[in-house]
């Protein structure tokens, strides 16, 4: 096996190992729940027989490690059990919400990543200029502001003052591009805000690092002009860090999705999870958490593999 393939396999394996550790952490965290879950679900008036039956069906009479394994098996076979609140299969609940969240995330990435890269690259190239300082002030403010402030300001401006957009999300109306724009504009603007700032900051830092290197000075002294300097000489060397920045921003996106779906009442997975937390529907909380973590780890792992492939030292030995 080539050293490169071994490196990539090792990275994949480490991603899986991390996911397994995460599943253990999620399981342990929810195991801290005080009291008897079955009793809590059925209420004080339940007969002891009913409680015992529920306990058995939830494997609460089994030792902890066995429950963990059963739970893991359920997750892997896409059948993580039933909601405690409405008894629907979790797979059905998640299945109806997940595509909505993916759509929202994809739209945000589509809007945010190009803007962020443009901002980051231009700020690095014109380092120290007034433009750079303004971009810097914007990004530093955007990463330190809570999403709900961005969301409320957006609603105040576009919905309350200008009446351009609806302030609440009523139904997922994708009948025409205009409708889609009206529906998604506010959530996507809110989410993009932080993501743009984060990626732009990291892109700028990575690019500046490279622009200070001796081989860039060498290229300047060879008569290479600025555009070619950035596109051909600098950017290939920041691919790894930038892809990583994009992937890391996903964790920001995740936090943002939870807030944004709640504010705009968007029928996504995060809203499902927040509702499950309020009703203490633990199996649903666990399942949602694992989906989010798996998605995050997948992206980070992909980013690392891209960085490995983008590094000529690793690609050509």
């Amino acid at each position: 096996m080539s050293p490169l393939a071994r490196l990539i396999l090792a990275r994949l394996a480490s991603g899986l190992l991390t996911l397994l550790t995460v599943s253990l952490l999620v399981f342990l965290a929810t195991e801290m729940l005080p009291g008897d879950v079955a009793q809590a679900v059925l209420g004080q008036s339940a007969t002891p027989d009913a409680v015992a039956a529920l306990r058995a069906s939830m494997h609460l009479d089994q030792p902890g490690w066995l429950r963990y394994l059963l739970w893991l098996q359920g997750l892997l076979s896409f059948n993580p059990g039933h909601s405690l609140v409405n008894d629907l299969p979790i797979a059905t609940l998640v299945g109806s919400r997940l595509p909505n969240s993916l759509l929202l995330a994809a739209l945000t990435a589509l809007v945010a990543v190009p803007i962020a890269l443009t901002l980051g690259i231009t700020a690095a190239v014109w380092r120290g200029s007034r433009y750079d300082r303004i971009v810097g002030l914007f990004t530093i403010s955007a990463v330190s502001v809570p999403e709900f402030l961005v969301a409320t300001l957006a609603v105040l401006i576009f919905a309350v003052q200008l009446h351009w957009l609806p302030s609440m999300f009523y139904r997922l109306d994708l009948s025409s591009p205009l409708q889609m724009l009206r529906v998604f504009a506010l959530p996507v603007i809110t989410l993009s805000f932080v993501v743009i700032a984060q990626i732009a900051r990291m892109t700028r830092a990575a690019l500046i690092n490279v622009l200070d290197s001796a081989y860039i000075e060498m290229a300047v002294l060879k008569g290479v002009r600025p555009v070619r300097l950035v596109l051909r000489h600098a950017l290939p060397n920041v691919l790894g860090p930038v892809v990583n920045a994009v992937a890391l921003s996903v964790s920001f996106l995740l936090g943002g999705v939870i807030i944004v779906e709640t504010i705009f009442n968007y029928p996504g997975l995060a809203k499902l999870m927040v509702d499950a937390v309020s009703t203490r529907d633990m199996p649903l909380v666990q399942a949602c958490a694992m989906i989010f973590c798996a998605a995050y780890l997948l992206l980070v792992t992909l980013a690392d593999i891209t960085a490995i492939l983008a590094n000529p030292r690793l690609r050509h030995r």
Partner: protein, 616 residues
């Protein structure tokens, strides 16, 4: 009568400023077509700044304040950005100090070498053909295939030659070489110098050669300018400058480049202070035989008498710094025996007594790394005094003042942080801290290598004085032969972790010697013109190879490069230890007579150039 062509380059009253500071002051010179002019100076002399202004470039924070520059028909410091881009690379090209940093890691070599030719209008196919011609002219191995590689896939010496190809591909009017061989080992340096010289000569190129090394410049330049603190001190043809330097600063540079021996007769002692036998050390986990995965030192043995200096010489990667760390206990040896005053030393730090630790002190190369930037001079010197002797209060202060005085530092520095000291002062402080422990043995790891020659010479003087006053023994590690010659009683030459030759200091002056010693000594540029051209073909062939990882594992690691290897023997059996009449031990299959015969015709240039025996 005067039919000399007009100069190609004219620099007149050039001034460069960095903020309020003037870093280049009123520098004027001309370069005739086909001439090689050298700028010589120590760090901070402004030599690179001047070279870059010929390209119309000032580093961030610097500004070309006044003066004029003409290169051919162009005035680089007057050009607008777009004109500058057309001018650079086409009319003036640049060869930087560290090729490893100046090549883009993400592009293939051919793309980088041909880029400026293509940008300036040459079709790609022509540019690549021209590049391959240059690769051949620069004696690069595999001239057809090397272009497809990435920078990390070729050696440092090859990269430096590839950068020469990159600079010459547009057939520029002027080539600037900025310390092009400083980062290389001596044996690698000569092949690169040879390649440069040949290409410059063949093409009649005009060049500006920037360096701190007079001996290197003596081989390359027609004329030399000496710079100090941004101002010109002296300008003269090379031969004149070397034979009769006019300016006192030039004289001090020349003196420092060929340091006089600072020898003290070591006290005659029966028992050695330090004895090392069959030492094996390296990095990584150990295998079943107890050998480390990445072996660095193989079966090294030597001893150091009380009060004497052992010089350890070798090129980068030979294991000389590892040796110091093993003796200090920082890297526990995998096998072998170390004794101090007859007492065995445990391999690991934790198993040595505090007094054993005290008696061996290590001094590292770079004082910037070796002195904690958060600690004041008082703290740095006070800690070993407290730790080993429990000193405190007034007595501590007295001792600190005495130590500062011992290394010629003013007592007023005690409250300063290392950042407030000059490079030479920091290295003195670094030494003083080791002396605070009142050691019997100092391990000096390249202590003068990071310093400018004049400052380094002062440190050597200090070391000699300390030896005389305190009678400390010393293991002095260096890659610089003139430094070793100046201060050592005994020498040991390391190659790929083996002590290929050791003995009294005379082993470096008397033939026969181990073939690697011969190569190493003949690779050190002599301070005279014509040295480079006088090198024998044998030495050049040996220099070509360089040490590879695969070779390091062979029974004789030098064998692939060796001009006198015995086929069928050297690659199979480990070389035996031989005693030579001059008082040396070598690891070689050849006996004394065979080596003498091989080296008779081929006397090292160095041995004839510098009559060392007369110095003492």
């Amino acid at each position: 009568m005067d039919d000399k062509p007009p100069p190609l380059v004219e620099v007149d009253k050039l001034c460069v400023t960095a903020g309020a500071q003037t870093i280049v002051r009123d520098v004027s010179f001309t370069i005739a077509p086909g001439e090689v002019l050298a700028l010589i100076g120590e760090s901070g002399s402004g030599k690179t700044t001047i070279a870059l202004s010929l390209l119309g470039h000032a580093r961030p924070g610097c500004r070309i304040a006044s003066g004029s520059i003409r290169v051919g028909a162009h005035l680089p410091i007057r050009l607008r950005p777009a004109e500058l881009a057309r001018f650079r690379g086409r009319h003036v090209s640049y060869i930087a100090q560290s090729a490893a940093a100046a090549f883009n890691p993400a592009q293939r070599l051919m793309a980088q070498v041909t880029e400026s030719a293509i940008l300036h209008g040459l079709p790609r196919a022509d540019a690549e053909a021209r590049a391959r011609t240059l690769f051949r002219a620069l004696a690069l191995p595999d001239p057809e295939g090397v272009g497809a590689l990435f920078p990390h896939q070729v050696s440092g010496g090859q990269l430096q030659r590839l950068m020469a190809a990159m600079a010459l591909i547009t057939e520029p009017q002027l080539v600037i070489l900025d310390e092009p061989t400083t980062a290389l080992d001596v044996t690698t340096q000569i092949e690169v110098l040879r390649a440069f010289k040949q290409v410059v000569r063949e093409r009649g190129a005009t060049a500006l050669y920037v360096s701190h090394d007079l001996a290197v410049v003596a081989q390359m330049a027609d004329r030399i300018i000496v710079l100090r603190d941004g101002a010109m001190q002296e300008m003269a043809p090379t031969a004149t400058m070397l034979a009769a330097p006019a300016h006192p600063y030039t004289q001090s540079l020349l003196a420092a480049a060929e340091p006089t021996p600072r020898l003290i007769a070591p006290p005659v002692a029966a028992a050695p202070l330090l004895r090392v036998e069959n030492l094996v050390a390296g990095y990584g986990p150990r295998n079943a035989q107890g050998q480390p995965m990445i072996p660095v030192l193989h079966d090294v043995g030597f001893s150091i008498a009380p009060g004497s200096v052992l010089g350890v010489i070798g090129e980068s990667g030979c294991g000389k710094s590892t040796l110091a760390q093993v003796i200090a206990g920082l890297l526990p040896a995998a096998a072998g025996r170390i004794t101090l005053d007859g007492e065995p030393l445990a391999p690991a730090l934790a198993d040595r007594s505090r007094d054993q630790l005290r008696r061996i002190q290590i001094v590292f190369q770079s004082p910037d790394m070796a002195l904690n930037p958060a600690h004041s001079v008082r703290q740095l010197l006070g800690r070993p005094l407290q730790f080993y002797f429990g000193l405190r209060g007034a007595e501590l202060d007295r001792r600190i003042a005495a130590l500062l005085d011992m290394v010629r530092l003013p007592a007023g520095l005690a409250a300063r942080l290392p950042a407030g000291l000059s490079g030479g002062q920091k290295q003195r402080l670094n030494l003083a801290r080791a002396l605070a422990a009142e050691p019997a043995l100092l391990l000096c790891d390249e202590v003068t290598s990071a310093l400018d020659t004049v400052v380094a010479a002062a440190i050597l003087d200090l070391l000699a004085e300390l030896r005389r006053e305190l009678g400390i023994a010393c293991m002095f590690i260096s890659h610089d032969l003139s430094t070793i010659r100046a201060i050592c009683d005994q020498v040991m030459i390391l190659y790929a972790g083996r002590a290929v030759e050791q003995g009294g200091r005379q082993v470096m002056q008397q033939t026969p010697m181990h073939p690697y010693t011969d190569l190493l000594l003949s690779s050190v540029p002599a301070l005279r013109t014509g040295w480079l051209d006088s090198l024998s073909a044998t030495h050049l062939a040996e220099a070509e190879g360089g040490l590879t990882r695969a070779a390091a594992a062979l029974p004789c690691p030098f064998q692939p490069r060796c001009a006198v290897r015995i086929a069928g023997v050297c690659e199979r059996q480990p070389p035996p230890l031989r005693h030579l009449a001059k008082g040396a031990e070598i690891l070689c299959h050849h006996d004394e007579a065979a080596l003498r015969a091989a080296q008779q015709h081929d006397a090292p240039a160095f041995a004839s150039a510098a009559p060392l025996a007369s110095a003492h």
